[in-house]
Subunit: 143 residues, 2 copies
Amino acid sequence: MDKHELRRAGLKATLPRLRILQLLEERAVSHMSAEDVYRALLEAGEDVGLATVYRVLTQFEAAGLVSRHHFEGGHSVFELNQGEHHDHIVCSECGHIVEFIDPIIEERQNRVAEAHGFRLADHALVLHGICTDTKCERRARGR
Amino acid sequence: MDKHELRRAGLKATLPRLRILQLLEERAVSHMSAEDVYRALLEAGEDVGLATVYRVLTQFEAAGLVSRHHFEGGHSVFELNQGEHHDHIVCSECGHIVEFIDPIIEERQNRVAEAHGFRLADHALVLHGICTDTKCERRARGR
DNA sequence: CTAATTGCAAAAGCTTTGCAGCGCA
DNA sequence: TGCGCTGCAAAGCTTTTGCAATTAG
């Protein structure tokens, strides 16, 4: 039950919070902006305010339920914290996002950070490139 | 002469452009936001508009003279393109930035990207961590 | 001289905040 | 019931854009 998850995070189990949590859980690969979440809820007939979406997502982030990424200039995207850590490749052309884990990079990251007197707290790494995937190109055309 | 650099980039050698280019060259480790550049110029007695700073930095980026990074949420920072490519570690606490190159990560990045159907165009990588450096901690306190 | 460039101010995104009313515990 | 939460609207920030005046080549 999602209610418990919210309680555990010290948050009242209100309708907007439940809906937003559900929405993030539904979408397997969910890198949604606040705006995305807002529109999805409106389309689903829910009556929430954009401000609430921002507030809830920020609270979720503080509670460790979601991660916020600043992929491209402008807006943030949110993602449910589930399972293992992973990193991202973002297509500069179409915004397509792919998750990956590379043990060697993971290890080197820590070494590099250590060598420069850093403790890798949140361990975030983002590659920017151009996607040559068919699906991605289709998306790019669709813009 | 900086004038030549601008001409080569197809840009008229105007005073604001020269000043901005000089400013970026002066500061050895220069990760400046548009606002930083603007204020630095004002303090130096130059009479430029913030809009011009943004326009010039964007043109410089297009010309390959500078790189733009979206380190933290909110604002971009600019850096002169000199010498070799490098990546960054950003301290989440104090904003302190360290540059590094790790050949192994470089190589893995390309492999990972390739394996996922991406061509690494701009090759940007940013680590976020907490800096334990003395100099950095001093900075953090100074905030 | 002509086209590019600038400064100012206004506008455009994304995100946060103030506040009165509604809802969970 | 009481405090937390929500929605709306307004404000905040960074960045972009329109336009008349200015300047480089």
